[in-house]
C-alpha cells in the first residue's frame, strides 16, 4: 500500500476495498493511503473541495494554531491517540454528485444503513434530511416547503460556495474560534462535511431537520462542522445521530457545532452518539444565545472510547435561556467526561442542566460542569442537577462542578445524587414476574426517562433500545 498519496487522485478512480477482516458486512470502498496531518494535506483538501481562498486561509491559520497548542492534560488520558496515524479525508468511491432521492443513494450505503439498523422513521425523514457518509454528504433533499420558507439546509461544503457571506460571518468566528482549543484548531484545519442550517427571521421550521453521521473507515478522523443560524423569532429543531461499525484501529471524531440563536428565537439541538468503542470523541459545541432566545441541548452519549463533550451556552442577551439535558453511559473501557457550560453574561438569564449518567462494567462517567454568572448580571437563575447510577462495584461516577458567580442576587441550585440499582427495586419488579435483566433495564429506563421523554418518539425508542443493549447482564 502506498504511503503517500494525492487526495485529488481519489476522484473518479476505483478505490481499494478497505473494510477490515471480519467486517465483511460492510462492502464499501475507500482509498486508504492518505495519512498524517500536514500543511500539504490542508492545502490539498481545500483544493480538492474547490474552496475559495478565504477558507484555505482559515484552514492554514487553524493548522498553525493546532501545531502550537499542546494536547490538553486536564481531562481524560489522550496519550494513546496518535494524530499522525489518522486519515483526515476520505471519499466513498463511485460517488460524485449529491443524491437527491433515496433510490439514488449508492446501494452499498443503503445496505450499511440497513446493517446498522437505522430506524425506519429516520429513513422516512430522509426526504427532509441529509445523511452524511464519512466526510461527504451523499444524500440531500430538502423538503419543498422548507425551501419555500427561505430555510437553508445543506451540507457545509456546499454552503461555503453557495452562501459565502453567511459562512464568512459565522464560521469559526465569534462562537468557536479555532484558537479555542487544540481540537477546535485541528477541526478548523481539516474539517469536512457537516450541516449548514439557516432559518430566516420569524420562520418556524415545522419538522425536525435530521442527519445521520457515520464513520466507516478505520483510523479515520471525522470532523464535520455544523453551523445553525436562527434569526430573530425563528424556531428550529436539529437532530443528529452518529454511529460507526467497530474497527480495530483507533479513530477520532472531532466535530464543531456552532449555533446562533437570534433574538427571541428557539433552537433545539439533539444528538445521539453511538460511535464504536475505539473512537475518541472530542467535540466543541457552543451556542450564542441572544435576548429572550431559548437554546435547548438534548443529547445522549452511548458509544465511543473516550468522550469529552461540554456543550456551552453563552447567554449574551437579556432574558436568554438555556436547557441542557444529557444522558451519558459508560461501560467497560469507556470514559465519558461530559457536562455542560453555561455562561450567564446578561441580566435575567436562566438555565437548567439535567445530567443523567450510568456506568457499569468498570466504566467511568464524570460530570464536568461550568456555571458562570458575570458581574452586573442581575436576576440570574440557574439550576443544575446531575444524577449518576452505578450498576456494580467496579464502575466509577464522579462530579466536577465549577460554579463561578460574580453577581449578588443570582439564584443558583446545584443538586447531585449518586445511586445504585437498589436490591429492593429489583426484588419488587421481579416479584411481579419480570426477570432480572428486564428489571434492570426498566429501572435504568426510568432513570433516564426525564430526558428520553424530550426526544422524538423514534429516537426515544432507539435510545431505550441502545441503553437496554448496553445494560444486558449488568447486574448479578
Amino acid at each position: 500500500m502506498k504511503k503517500t498519496g494525492n487526495v485529488s487522485e481519489l476522484y473518479g478512480r476505483d478505490a481499494k476495498l478497505s473494510a477490515e477482516p471480519g467486517e465483511g458486512r460492510l462492502n464499501v470502498g475507500y482509498r486508504t493511503d492518505v495519512k498524517g496531518l500536514t500543511e500539504e494535506l490542508v492545502r490539498e483538501i481545500s483544493e480538492v473541495k474547490g474552496e475559495p481562498d478565504w477558507m484555505l486561509k482559515k484552514r492554514l491559520d487553524s493548522f498553525a494554531i493546532f501545531k502550537s497548542k499542546p494536547m490538553p492534560t486536564w481531562g481524560p488520558d489522550l496519550s494513546r491517540l496518535d494524530l499522525d496515524a489518522l486519515t483526515a479525508f476520505v471519499r466513498p468511491k463511485g460517488k460524485d454528485a449529491n443524491a437527491t432521492k433515496w433510490e439514488e443513494v449508492p446501494k452499498d450505503i443503503r445496505k450499511t444503513f440497513d446493517v446498522l439498523g437505522i430506524p425506519e422513521a429516520e429513513r422516512k425523514f430522509l426526504s427532509g434530511a441529509s445523511a452524511q457518509y464519512d466526510s461527504e454528504v451523499l444524500y440531500k433533499s430538502l423538503r419543498k416547503n422548507i425551501s419555500e420558507l427561505g430555510v437553508i439546509f445543506t451540507d457545509m461544503d456546499s454552503a461555503v460556495k453557495e452562501y459565502p457571506e453567511l459562512v464568512k460571518r459565522y464560521f469559526m468566528t465569534r462562537c468557536v474560534p479555532a484558537k479555542d482549543n487544540k481540537f477546535s484548531a485541528l477541526h478548523g484545519a481539516f474539517w469536512s462535511g457537516g450541516s449548514f442550517v439557516y432559518v430566516p427571521a420569524g420562520v418556524k421550521v415545522p419538522q425536525p431537520l435530521q442527519i445521520y453521521f457515520m464513520m466507516n473507515y478505520p483510523g479515520f478522523g471525522q470532523m464535520e462542522h455544523t453551523l445553525i443560524v436562527a434569526e430573530q423569532g425563528a424556531s428550529v429543531q436539529y437532530i443528529e445521530g452518529c454511529s460507526a461499525p467497530h474497527y480495530t484501529k483507533d479513530s477520532l471524531h472531532s466535530a464543531v457545532v456552532e449555533i446562533f440563536a437570534g433574538k427571541g428565537s428557539r433552537v433545539r439541538y439533539t444528538s445521539i452518539q453511538n460511535w464504536s468503542k475505539n473512537v475518541y470523541n472530542l467535540n466543541t459545541k457552543r451556542a450564542i444565545v441572544s435576548e429572550d432566545a431559548i437554546m435547548e441541548w438534548v443529547g445522549g452519549t452511548l458509544g465511543s472510547g473516550v468522550t469529552m463533550l461540554y456543550p456551552c451556552s453563552m447567554l449574551v442577551g437579556k432574558g436568554a435561556r438555556a436547557e441542557h439535558l444529557t444522558i451519558s453511559l459508560a461501560g467497560g473501557g469507556q470514559v465519558k467526561d461530559t457536562g455542560a457550560k453555561v455562561l450567564h453574561m446578561a441580566p435575567n438569564t436562566s438555565s437548567r442542566v439535567v445530567s443523567k449518567s450510568i456506568c457499569r462494567g468498570g466504566g467511568l462517567v464524570r460530570y464536568r460542569g461550568l456555571l458562570h454568572v458575570g458581574k452586573g448580571c442581575t436576576g440570574v437563575k440557574a439550576n443544575v442537577r446531575c444524577d449518576s447510577m452505578i450498576a456494580d462495584k467496579i464502575s466509577i461516577a464522579e462530579t466536577v462542578p465549577v460554579i463561578d458567580v460574580r453577581s449578588d442576587d443570582a439564584v443558583i441550585q446545584h443538586e447531585a445524587a449518586v445511586g445504585r440499582i437498589s436490591d429492593d427495586q429489583l426484588f419488587y419488579l421481579m416479584s411481579r414476574g419480570i426477570d432480572e435483566n428486564e428489571a434492570v433495564s426498566l429501572i435504568v429506563r426510568g432513570f433516564i426517562e426525564p430526558i428520553v421523554k424530550e426526544l422524538p418518539l423514534e429516537y426515544a425508542v432507539e435510545m431505550n433500545r441502545l441503553v437496554e443493549m448496553e445494560m444486558e447482564g449488568a447486574v448479578g
Binding site: 411481579r432 414476574g433 419480570i434 429506563r445 433516564i448
Partner: protein, 244 residues
Amino acid sequence: MMALLSLKNLQISAGEKEIIQGISLDIGEGEVHVIMGQNGSGKSTLLSALAGNPKYSVKGEAAFEGKDLLALKPHERARRGLFLAFQSPIEVPGVSLASFLRRAYAARFGDEMSAMEFDKILQAKSEAIGLTRSFFSRGINDGMSGGERKMSEILQLSVLEPRLAMLDEPDSGLDVDALERVGAAIGKIRKNGMSMIIVTHYARVLRGIKADRVHVLHAGKIAASGDGRLAQKIEEKGYGWALQ
C-alpha cells in the same frame, strides 16, 4: 387434596439472625389464612421470603402446587401465580405503572399485548376497584400517598390474578376512608375464589372476607391457630390473651 402451598419446618434467617424458627402450614385451594402477631414476630419476613427475596436464606420445605418453591427465582414464583402485596411498596421513578404492568402481565400469562389492548384490561380492572386512568400513567409508586400505594398493589393483584395472594398489612397507615376502599377492593377480588394469606393487626380489613384460618405468629413460630373468631378476639383482647 393437595394443598396449594405447603410449608414444612420452614426456617428463615437474615444474615446470622434466625427470624422464622420452623413453621409448618398448609393452605388449600381457595382458602384465606390470616396471620397476626406483634411487630417483629416475623410476619413480613415470612411473606417476603416466600416471594423469593434474596436477602433471606431459607431452610425446610415450601411446595407450591406440589413443586419446590425454594428453587425458584422471584420472577419464576410470580409467573406460577404467587403474588406479594408489599407493606411498603417500592418506588421506581420514571416507569409508568401501565407499561410495567403490561410487561408483568405478559410474563404471567405469556400474552404479549399491544399497549392499546392492555389498556382496555387495565381500564376495566381499575374501574372495578374505583380507580381512574390518571392513576396508572404515573411512575410506579412515585410520589404516591400511602393509601395510593396500597391501592396500586391491589390493582396489580387484580390484573395479575395470582393463584395465591400474600397481602402484607394492606391496612397499615391508612385513614378510615382508605381502609374502607382497600377492604372493599380486596373483597371484590376475593370473590373469584383466589387463595390469600393476609398479614394484619386488625380484623376490620377482613370485613366481607371470611377467614378460614387465623394464625398468631410469635417469636418466629406459630403460637396459636383458630378460625375467624380468633381474629375478632385478638382485636378485642390483645395478643397477650392469644399467647397464653
